[in-house]
């Protein structure tokens, strides 16, 4: 035991300011968002989430097109990124040699380190022209009977934004699911192999079903990132508040309306409505994070107990 000097007690109390300030910071963030969006909360109430009027001049605000855009782009991004990300994670954890797996993991980390504004830049000058000239004409020609692939082809829009989001979240899905897969006790897989299953059958039926809660956690964590992703989406979604079943159509998201309009918002009600959008992003991201961490924890905790 340490000698309890008075100097020790003082040091301990001073140091305690820092962790407490973290708690105060988050509480303050929540409080400030609520109090600043109060005018909009009281004026529009629930209609804020179902109205699609966004009229700064008449000070009438509804966020439905932005909510629609955020949900649509995040879901399509997940549809694209989850199979590829989980597949790559299985390959790295179960099939690749340790050296190859290590090199690829470093490269995947590199992909995760690229700032989102650079993804946006690449999106504007590489992805969007490619969408306009190749991908969207192809989809329109062969899958045009589906409502998702109809309408004019601008290049920018929901589909381009979803693809860039998928690229941004794929490294997270890979690294978290790889960790989850590696945490599955190898005894289970080996028992299956000893019973004569092929490697894929062991991976699919044993490893994946054991780790599915953790992988679901990884997917939800990625969803949280997709919902909050701002710059890359703002640069290529077209910034037009539309609700359309066509993925070719330009759209808008919660985060990108903040990026575009916040600095120029004149008038209290306008600002307060934008801050309410920020509040929505804050609450959704907290919920999503809590859920994801709980799921990942449930798997990795089981694994550490099994190896004990």
């Amino acid at each position: 035991m340490a000698r309890q000097d008075s100097s020790d007690i003082i040091f301990r109390r001073v140091l305690a300011i820092f962790p407490i300030s973290i708690l105060v910071l988050v509480a303050g963030l929540f409080f400030q968002l609520i109090s600043s969006s109060l005018p909009s909360l009281t004026k529009f109430g629930a209609s804020f989430f179902v109205s699609s009027v966004w009229d700064p001049v008449a000070e009438n605000f509804g966020a439905l097109p932005f909510i629609f855009g955020t949900c649509l782009t995040s879901l399509v991004a997940l549809l694209l990124a989850v199979p590829i990300g989980v597949g790559a994670a299985i390959y790295l954890a179960e099939y690749a040699s340790p050296q190859v797996s290590k090199v690829i993991s470093i490269l995947v980390d590199l992909l995760a380190a690229i700032p989102s504004v650079i993804y946006g830049l690449w999106g504007i000058f590489v992805l969007v022209p490619f969408m306009r000239h190749s991908v969207q004409p192809f989809l329109g020609k062969y899958f045009g009977f589906l409502p998702f692939f109809q309408g004019p082809n601008y290049g920018v829009g929901f589909l381009a934004a979803s693809i860039i989001l998928a690229i941004i979240i794929v490294p997270f899905i890979i690294s978290v699911s790889r960790e989850v897969i590696l945490a599955v006790p190898s005894v289970y897989k080996e028992s299956a192999l000893a019973l004569g299953t092929t490697r894929w059958e062991a991976v699919f039926n044993i490893v994946l079903s054991y780790g599915k809660a953790g992988i679901l956690g990884a997917v939800i964590l990625a969803l949280g990132r997709a919902i909050g992703e701002t710059m890359a989406v703002t640069m290529i979604i077209g910034n037009n508040p539309t609700i359309s079943s066509s993925l070719f159509s330009p759209g808008y998201t919660l985060a990108s309306v903040l990026a575009n309009e916040f600095a120029e918002a004149a008038g209290n009600m306008y600002l307060s409505s934008l801050i309410e959008i920020g509040l929505v992003l804050f609450l959704v991201s907290i919920l999503v994070n809590i859920l994801a961490r709980f799921l990942i924890w449930s798997v990795t905790k089981g694994a550490s107990e099994a190896t004990k």
């Binding site: 100097s7 140091l15 820092f18 962790p19 700032p115 804050f282």
Partner: protein, 292 residues
């Protein structure tokens, strides 16, 4: 009868073996397609960035629309100033909280703070921008370098808290006990033995956090705001490299697009440099503990 069973068994086995091989290919394809996208991005970045890069880029101010040339000297300087301010906000709080959690906190309190920092890590960066706008920009009645640094600094806090706690916890107990046995009060042990022993790890954590916020654009949009000239005061709007890349990328001018690519390559090299510096610290640490 027996032959029929055997034949059907063989068929199933062949089908399962084939399926096994196909799936290896599919999984490999997933991994390769991710790498393909990464290389595509890096390739465009390097080709378009290097060709647009020249000495003027580092030494000149942006030129007005229509005039060719110019650079992003002020944005590069601005990014360093913002990162400096962010370090001033993020490092004391993050490090202090990390040390407290590892050395003094009760389990319950430590768990709560850890959980809150993890959640903080997941909050979209633009929300921190809004927070800095409410608590800095509105009271100061204007966009400023200070508010931008504040937004980036808060984002660094949870990352630094988690890594410093982890590394401080790894300091061997014998070291602390040796200090305490000499009659040194615990706070001197913490400051003079624990923190210096964990310094390499703590520095790595700070570097990684710095690399992550150095490319952030969204929290700066309505705090630092951007500036086409040199900034002379921390209470004035300030230019930043990611902001400049953003505004040039969405502009309609070819010359500005080229500058955006040049800015992007400088930005990514900066992020990678800070990251590999952090890796270097980790390597040195590992060698130290392996040698023991």
């Amino acid at each position: 009868m027996r032959e029929m069973i055997q034949a059907s068994f063989q068929r199933t086995r062949r089908r399962r073996a084939l399926w096994d091989k196909v799936m290896v290919g599919v999984l490999l394809l997933c991994a390769v397609s991710v790498l393909f996208i990464l290389f595509n991005i890096l390739l465009h970045l390097f080709i378009k960035g290097i060709t647009a890069l020249n000495w003027n880029f580092f030494t000149h101010l942006p030129k007005p629309v229509g005039e060719k040339g110019g650079g992003m000297a002020n944005a590069i300087a601005g990014t360093f100033i913002l990162l400096g301010l962010a370090v001033c906000v993020g490092v004391p709080v993050g490090l202090g909280a990390g040390v407290y959690l590892s050395e003094y906190a009760s389990d319950k309190f430590a768990q709560v703070v850890r959980f809150v920092s993890d959640v903080m890590n997941g909050i979209p960066s633009i929300v921190y921008g809004i927070f800095a706008y409410i608590v800095c920009v509105l009271p100061m009645k204007g966009f400023s370098a200070f508010s931008g640094g504040f937004a980036l600094g808060i984002m660094m806090i949870p990352m630094i808290t988690r890594t410093s706690e982890q590394f401080v916890r790894m300091v061997p107990n014998q070291l602390k006990e040796a200090g305490l046995a000499l009659g040194v009060p615990k706070w001197r042990v913490t400051l003079d033995i624990v923190i210096p022993s964990a310094l390499a790890g703590i520095t790595t954590g700070i570097m990684v956090a710095l690399a992550r916020v150095s490319g952030e654009t969204a929290p700066l949009l309505f705090t630092a705001f951007g500036n086409h000239y040199w900034q002379h005061s921390l209470t004035q709007p300030i230019a930043a490299l990611p902001l400049q890349v953003f505004s040039y990328a969405i502009s309609p001018f070819d010359d500005w697009h080229r500058q955006a690519w040049a800015g992007a390559i400088v930005l990514i090299l900066m992020v990678l440099l800070i990251n590999s510096w952090a890796q270097f610290y980790v390597m040195r640490r590992n060698r130290w503990s392996a040698g023991k």
